[in-house]
Subunit: 696 residues, 2 copies
């Protein structure tokens, strides 16, 4: 991939002297920064902007390992062929008119991809803005050359599946001076090079500390996840097309398919990726993480809030409720130190309202002392400075003030409002010193929280799937799968679960009333449940094939008769123990088009209908993956028991979830597993009903 | 109140020629804009800034009806006395050192308030920044005179209980040019004039279209609510101190008591007030509502999204999910019109991705045609324009483009990114034309939603409490209250509820086993419940005083014996029908220090422990209030029934909630009512257990 970012020479196909055209802008951009050889290619010109122009790609002299193409889409395939012939390693195709333009374009794109794979030439795009490298001053893009005036080098690299957004956003962020960037990659239709490869490159890139992605589709879900899991750099993802409506919009854009919102959300959480919700917010998360990528894990980040406004202090505290950070409780020593600048009537506490102290001692002294106190306070993990630019004698030298904090490894964040001109100066200055500054209080608190959440991330998700011993009873599973139809009946499904060491209800198929009675009285004990298993019938309850609360031999006999009649002599009759539970869960397996086998666990019964609380994990799950999965249930405290009921044995539940994933991975013919309900009885989960669907 | 805003003459006490002092800044501000007479008062000077200075307030000549005070707190009481003597109508006290500074200051403030009430002089503040009127150019504040350079008149008035925030925020908003303001009132400790009076003034002020408030406490909750309910202008409230930590911070600030977060949240919703969460967000909500204060009610605002970036279109759609607005479905006519500028391969849909059309036809034509189509489309209620400033040939004349939309009564909102300098120009221009422009996509969608939510508000909350006939059996209630101790037992409590026509379980106190058996078999029918009522014992279940599932005469007898024994011969035994329900609710009444009698309804049973889903309404509730209250439950769809269970009769439930409030209002000695559970059985709510607590 390095020839895309650091080519020795570039052929620009579609170079033109017409200043209104993109081919001209690309050339201008190359001339401003690229240090290697530039070779315009266009049969109509001898030279452009003083550089010799070549008739064809074959004429371009060495060294040249990258081609940038900006010509009508129809002409692209032929040019790619010449590029491959000429020994070009990589081609960035910025033209549009491919898969996004309908069936014909889709075919062209497919053919090109096949060609590239065969010939070994790598293709970037099409339908993209190329790439910008603010550190090395490489702009391989038709983005406006005026961008150069404001290009701020930084630590954040971006991978963006939307041309206009990458270019437009870059101009916005650069000219507003809120952040710098390292590399910005617009990947367009990603017909060959995709987010995975670029992400891998960024993870080893010394100029990249944090990677932000805007994606509408994830081409290789599992590979993407694996790369993210291994990543030591923070990764922030904004996924477009999460809502039903958004997904509809995504279908029409960059020819992408938006995946199942819940699966992607959970897969990303499992891989330790931070999810963003909006464009600027993604940038804010990225620059915050770039400023403090290595926060030590801590249950809650304890924040000292230094404010000139009691009101802003209050709202800051409000925003921290239920998040990964909280207002710090100041030590006695800190309070004593603050007392020396606080008026007598004002007891120091956090948020530290410095306005009276500022009035009496000036901002420098008041804030300075407060920061020193917070730095020395072992109960403070981070410092949140509220600053005001342009008035009220509140001018602060943020850099000077935060030096001690940085030495102590305590991150400093700043909320800044004030006169636009002066605020802008403070903001630019602070950015260059690595202090994240925000205009909105909520965003500042959100980003502080993200930095601490990322610190904790390394604990909860950096785990490899265990080296589990395979304890499945494979013979039983194979026989059962063979015996079953597409939809295996409850008993067969549970036989397979049992073969995977998943607890299931005690049960047996009974041939007649007598053996049913015997089972009920001797083996299972009352109350029992009796069910009719009719091939192909998956909705047993609705079909009247479930008899609950059977308490006597008479009732067993009646149930047997009723079920036999209901099944019209077909099918089998199952008798099983009746489980009285404290909580109903649902567990199962689905196959996601992007991520493959995913294990699901959620609230069942009535709760399922109201709360819609289910989470997905990409299999195989490690034991800690499975525990983390349960922890992501919105109402996970239910698992700890309530009203005197015993909590779920989370280790046992974790083993069940791991086993479900392992089963589906070991038997690819399994398309779906549904354990519903998985009842928690005295703390132990037990599969009460189940259904396995296999491929036909 | 008008003398505060439009005084005939102003005495400035604490005027000084020292340019570093606030008393100087106030004078400068007055000189720049105030059209009436200005009278500096300071015994040490003959004149200040060329204006004659008076020794005492008594020396000030007519006309003078307002004094502004900026002198040390200790000297204030004496000056107020002189002001009252001199016949001054209003005094704005900007000095600090009152209730916020401890006990001594609290006493001074109390005395001053009493003095003012007696003498009829009105006091504004203390510990505040006074007021700024950008339309009439009155700045009665020590806020930096440089503010004047950027003061932008607008339609939004603010009432702010935080001095630094009002001043600082004003400078921030004005210099960033994102919005204009009408009046900004910093009310400080509000020892006399409070938010209610100023809010009432603003509601009749012709220069105010929307009122935004930042409050840490609401002094007179009910009065505030009543004013808001009657208001025809949108009101936006940012309440500081909602979290437990925030409330702690609020205690130390402006000497205010933060109320119960849930009660205030619901009381404001009941009164149709929009709640803000952050400072800039509050401003954004205010300016959006000021632009479009009269949107017609509609189930969902249907938005046409005109974008140059498919990605931004997708994210916009994502943000609309589950909110008050949704992406519009374009009519066939609209699609046909768009086809004329769309490339052939691209079927028009919403979000309307205009980039290819812009490339082919230019931004003006592409956007112009799309806006015309959206304006004419009966399925479109609002237009959301994504604009870019400074590049990509995307320059748009927003005003020109939106004229037709405005004529058609369709609000236009704009998301704008781009080069900082050019974006700023577009933003200022758009603001002056009344088009709300946002930098963050999410904020734009949120504000659009707020405008439509406000349109719907007028339906759901503009209702006066009904003229209900009092159908309470007052004799029964009085007797029962008299008979009970502080905590009335279940039976007495339910006797009172029954007297208010609230359905309760059939039940009776039984003296012996025989009558218990008779009741069980003849009146109640099995199964029954038996409970021991022991004076002062409120936790019956824990004390072993509840016997459920009694199915036979024998069990009745056993239960009777057990209960008698458990109560050691004291107490009474209650027998009641056992209700099998589909859903457990809790209902009740609490007395809030700010809002008085509040009715509560929430999920009960297990749900209560997990979901924390309860809402409050300030009594008396109208029938529609009560219906709206239920509608604010997060999981209100539970009320509609699930798993075949019948939904709650919402009208019956509403009557119960109204009756609970009426009961507590009619009998002020009732401090608390707790109906737990209120079981829904076949759609009908019935009080199964209840407890009324009265004052000792």
């Amino acid at each position: 991939m390095d020839f895309f970012f650091n080519p020795k020479g570039i052929a620009l196909i579609g170079a033109t002297p017409n200043p209104l055209k993109g081919g001209h802008a690309i050339l201008q951009n190359l001339l401003k920064g690229f240090k290697g050889k530039i070779h315009p290619v266009n049969p109509r010109y001898e030279e452009i902007l003083g550089i010799p122009c070549h008739k064809t790609i074959a004429d371009v002299p060495d060294p040249v390992d990258l081609a940038i193409i900006f010509i009508p889409g129809k002409m692209v395939p032929q040019i790619i062929e010449s590029c491959a012939k000429r020994g070009i390693k990589g081609v960035i195709i910025e033209s549009s008119g491919f898969a996004e333009s309908g069936k014909e374009g889709q075919q062209v794109q497919k053919d090109l991809t096949n060609f590239a794979r065969k010939e070994g030439v790598r293709l970037w795009g099409p339908n993209c803005m190329g790439l910008v490298d603010a550190v090395n001053k490489n702009v391989f893009s038709f983005v406006s050359p005026e961008l150069w005036e404001e290009l701020i080098p930084g630590d954040v690299s971006l991978i963006v599946q939307s041309g206009m957004l990458s270019g437009g956003f870059l101009i916005d962020c650069m000219s507003h001076g809120t952040m710098g960037v390292s590399k910005v990659c617009s990947i367009g239709n990603k017909m060959d090079v995709d987010e995975c490869e670029i992400l891998e490159y960024m993870l080893t890139d010394p100029h990249t500390k944090v990677i932000g992605l805007y994606l509408e589709s994830i081409t290789h879900g599992r590979r993407f996840m694996e790369i993210c899991r291994r990543a030591t750099k923070p990764i922030v993802l904004l996924k477009g097309g999460k809502s039903a409506m958004g997904a509809k919009a995504a279908m029409g854009h960059t020819a992408s398919m938006a995946g199942n919102g819940a699966v992607i959300r959970d897969a990303m959480a499992q891989a330790g990726v931070m999810e963003a919700t909006d464009f600027h917010q993604m940038m804010d998360l990225c620059r915050s993480l770039a400023a403090y990528p290595d926060i030590k894990p801590t249950p809650k980040g304890r924040v000292a809030i230094l404010t000139y406004s009691g009101g802003a202090g209050i709202i800051s505290s409000d925003f921290m409720e239920n998040g990964p950070i909280e207002p710090a409780v100041l030590s006695r020593q800190s309070k004593e130190r603050l007392k020396t600048i606080f008026p007598q009537w004002m007891p120091p506490s956090n948020p530290i309202d410095l306005w009276p102290a500022v009035e009496q001692h000036g901002a420098e002294k008041a804030y300075g002392l407060a920061i020193d106190a917070a730095c020395d306070d072992p109960g403070v993990d981070a410092i949140f400075i509220h600053a005001f630019a342009g008035g009220f004698r509140l001018s602060l030298d943020l850099d000077k003030m935060s030096q001690k904090a940085k030495k102590m490894g305590k991150p400093v964040f700043c909320w800044l409002i004030g006169r636009q001109d002066e605020a802008r100066i403070v903001q630019l200055e602070s950015h260059s010193k690595g202090i994240p500054v925000f205009r909105e209080l909520h965003r500042a608190v959100e980003c502080m929280g993200a930095v601490f959440a990322h610190g904790n991330r390394t604990i909860s998700v950096k785990s490899e799937p265990d080296n589990r011993n395979d304890t499945m009873a494979h013979d039983t599973i194979k026989v059962s799968l063979k015996k079953g139809k597409t939809a295996l009946d409850e008993h067969l499904s549970k036989t397979i679960l049992d073969a995977c060491n998943i607890p299931v209800t005690k049960e047996i198929i009974v041939a007649d009333e007598a053996s049913a009675c015997q089972m009920a009285t001797q083996t299972l004990k009352f109350p029992v449940v009796m069910k009719g298993l009719l091939p192909g019938e998956v909705h047993k309850t609705e079909a009247g094939l479930v008899k609950l609360n059977i308490e006597s031999r008479d009732q067993v006999k009646t149930a047997f008769k009723d079920l036999t009649q209901a099944m019209d002599g077909k099918g089998e009759i199952l008798i099983q123990q009746q489980i009285k539970g404290d909580l109903e869960l649902i567990a199962g397996v689905v196959k996601d088009p992007q991520f493959g086998v995913c294990v699901m666990v959620g609230l069942g019964g009535v709760m399922a209908e109201i709360l819609d609380d289910a989470v997905f994990g990409v299999a195989p799950l490690s034991h800690s993956d499975a525990l983390a999965l349960m922890g992501r249930l919105k109402h996970q405290k239910l698992l700890d028991g309530f009203r005197g009921a015993k909590g779920v044995d989370r280790d046992v539940l974790a083993k069940i979830l791991c086993a479900l994933g392992d089963l589906a991975l070991a038997y690819p013919q399994i398309n779906e597993i549904d354990v519903n309900p998985l009842i928690i009885s005295k703390g132990n989960p037990i599969a009460v009903d189940a259904s396995i669907i296999q491929e036909q």
